[in-house]
Amino acid sequence: MSDVSGREVGRITPTAALVKAMLPIALVALLILFSAAESRVLSLGNLSNILNQASYLAIFASAQMLVIITRGFDLSLGTCVSAVSVTAALVMTGSLATEEANALAIVGGVAMGLTVGVLCGLFNGIVVAIFRVNPFVATLGSLNICMGVATMASDGRPVFNVPREFSNIVYSGELFGIPAPILIAAIALIVLHFILAHTVFGRGLFLIGANPRAAEVAGLPARRYVTQAYVLCSIMAAVGALMLTGRTGSGEPNLGGNLTLESIAAAVIGGVSLRGGVGGASSVVLGALFVTVLSNGMNLTRIDGNVQMIVLGGVIILAVFLDRFRSATR
């Protein structure tokens, strides 16, 4: 997958190439550093564990990336994940679930979860694109609304007894020896890459983010595209939420937690610019891998969870330094 950028990339200078290679180099350096301290880091089991964990983050980060490209934000991503998880679990454990008809319940639950995602995305998109409310405030509002929905629907308690078959498919399932989460994430990212790089809609998003005036003059239906970007973002978040629900085996009203901030951090670390117009599936994969390797390595080397928070904060600030540098060399 090549990096997609809405901006005209000229001749690639050596510095630009170096900056571009910085993240993969940092990733490898991080792995070597951690493996020096703790040999288990590079074990096969742990590496596949890292890939597995990164696939969730990659999905959430790419959802976030879609709206960041249009100079937007989705603060509601985390609570949307909670709302999707709870409502889907409620349907799965509800009246549809009988001994023989679990399949129906699962399909119903997935449909419910995706519907909640679409609704949340539509709300965000319409408020941002049609009412022109600042994306921060708009999604701050829907953050609250989704949180309320998630806790009200579940009474603040986890929804247990999600059918085991669901977890068997989306969590522990395998196809050709590839674990389901990695497979789902890979498919989602390939589809996303195709949309961003090869469709009018995808190219339009980059133009809208890079130069809104130009996009309008060029006759792009900016409002519709931006609304669609928010809907697509929430749908991807819903997919991730369903995967997480399968992993925990219950619908959790607190599932979203720090996902919003983590997803933004992973996207920006990967090189998605908050100034809009820059991003790509490969950036998100790298960003998600980097954050996952960092936290996995710190866990294995038994670094205190609070120190981990401080390190993550430092890395985020470092990443925006880098972004600054990158856009200067571009």
Partner: protein, 340 residues
């Protein structure tokens, strides 16, 4: 800043004339009047002395933080770290007071000022990091303050391991934090003084003018010789210091330093109060007296919903809807005025 900048304004929706009228009178005073009138009819308990004190206290805390948030919003910035600064200030102050208490037993004149200074130092420190990164590196304030949010929260938790910190002098809590001066909570006076000071800075000093200039049109401000960087840094430092001040007051009231103080809800509420008061996220617009009213409105709303036994989960939803509605109305009014 991340503006939703696609496309210039198009002919707006219907009902704009109504919106314009409302904006001219001022939406906030109207909303405040309506909510108080509503409570007068439906829930007399609202006017109990203790309840009014509660409303005033929470308004004061929120107004101080929101005033700081407003300063940063005026320079077209953002501060996500205010809640984390509150947590850090609270724990550092309580820890240092406890430590000083061991070194100088019973000497409150030393313990309290030094402890408060340690707390405010945290605000200064985080504010400087935020301001320097935003002003000199021109990086997105969102990311910088997201980073410092994570750092400050991590530090606060690391210092306390999540356990409340006791050991502050009793006098600090009973004679200051929980005390009444002339029949009103101490916090209210301090909040009033701070709001007056910020109002004075905004309307009567060069710093205030410069902040508006930098946020309104950065290029024009630089060309006119406004030291833009210094003013942006000052805005972030003042914001964090105000959050620290609120943390000192909250800690004094609570009687212990807590890493869970502030948190994300304070950050979100401070932004909500500012937005409801018409502070533009595009920068250059914002008045502290309206922000104080915004804080008052949010506090009354929360308190009223508590008294009316609105489910706490439902309250969150209502706050979200109020926020979006306020922002949408402001946007409508802005378009009507033609500042597009």
């Amino acid at each position: 800043m991340s503006e939703s900048a696609y496309g210039a304004g198009r002919p707006g929706l219907g009902g704009e004339a109504v919106a314009q009228q409302i904006m001219r009178v001022g939406l906030l005073p109207l909303l405040l009047f309506l909510s108080v009138a509503f409570m007068a009819v439906f829930e007399q308990k609202f006017f109990g002395l203790n309840n009014l004190f509660n409303v005033l206290r929470s308004t004061s805390f929120l107004a101080i933080v929101a005033a700081g948030q407003m300063l940063v919003l005026i320079v077209a910035g953002f501060d996500l770290s205010v809640g984390a600064v509150i947590a850090l200030t609270s724990t550092v102050m309580a820890k240092s007071m406890a430590a000083l208490g061991v070194m100088f037993p019973e000497q409150n004149a030393i313990i309290i000022p030094l402890g408060v200074l340690c707390g405010l130092g945290c605000g200064l420190f985080i504010g400087l990091i935020n301001g320097l990164c935003v002003a000199y590196l021109r990086v997105s304030p969102f990311m910088v303050t997201l980073g410092t949010l994570s750092i400050a929260t991590g530090l606060a938790l690391l210092l306390t391991q999540g356990i409340p910190v006791y050991g502050m002098p009793d006098g600090f809590v009973t004679d200051f934090g929980r005390a009444l001066w002339f029949g009103l909570p101490t916090t209210v006076y301090i909040a009033l003084v701070i709001i007056l000071l910020v109002w004075f800075v905004q309307t009567r000093t060069r710093l205030g003018r410069y902040l508006y200039a930098v946020g309104g049109n950065l290029q024009a401000a630089i060309v006119s010789g406004v030291p833009a960087r210094r003013n942006v840094i000052l805005a972030y430092v003042l914001c964090s210091m105000l959050a620290s001040t609120a943390a000192v007051l909250m800690t004094a009231r609570l009687g212990s330093g807590q890493a869970s103080m502030g948190g994300n809800s304070m950050m979100l509420q401070s932004i909500a109060a500012a937005v409801i008061a018409g502070v533009s996220l595009r920068g250059g617009v914002g008045r502290v007296e309206l922000v104080a009213l915004g804080a008052l409105f949010l506090s009354i709303l929360t308190n009223a919903m508590n008294l009316l036994r609105v489910d706490s989960k439902m309250q969150v939803v209502i706050l979200g809807i109020v926020l979006v509605a306020a922002a949408a109305l402001e946007e409508l009014a802005r378009r009507r005025r033609g500042h597009v």
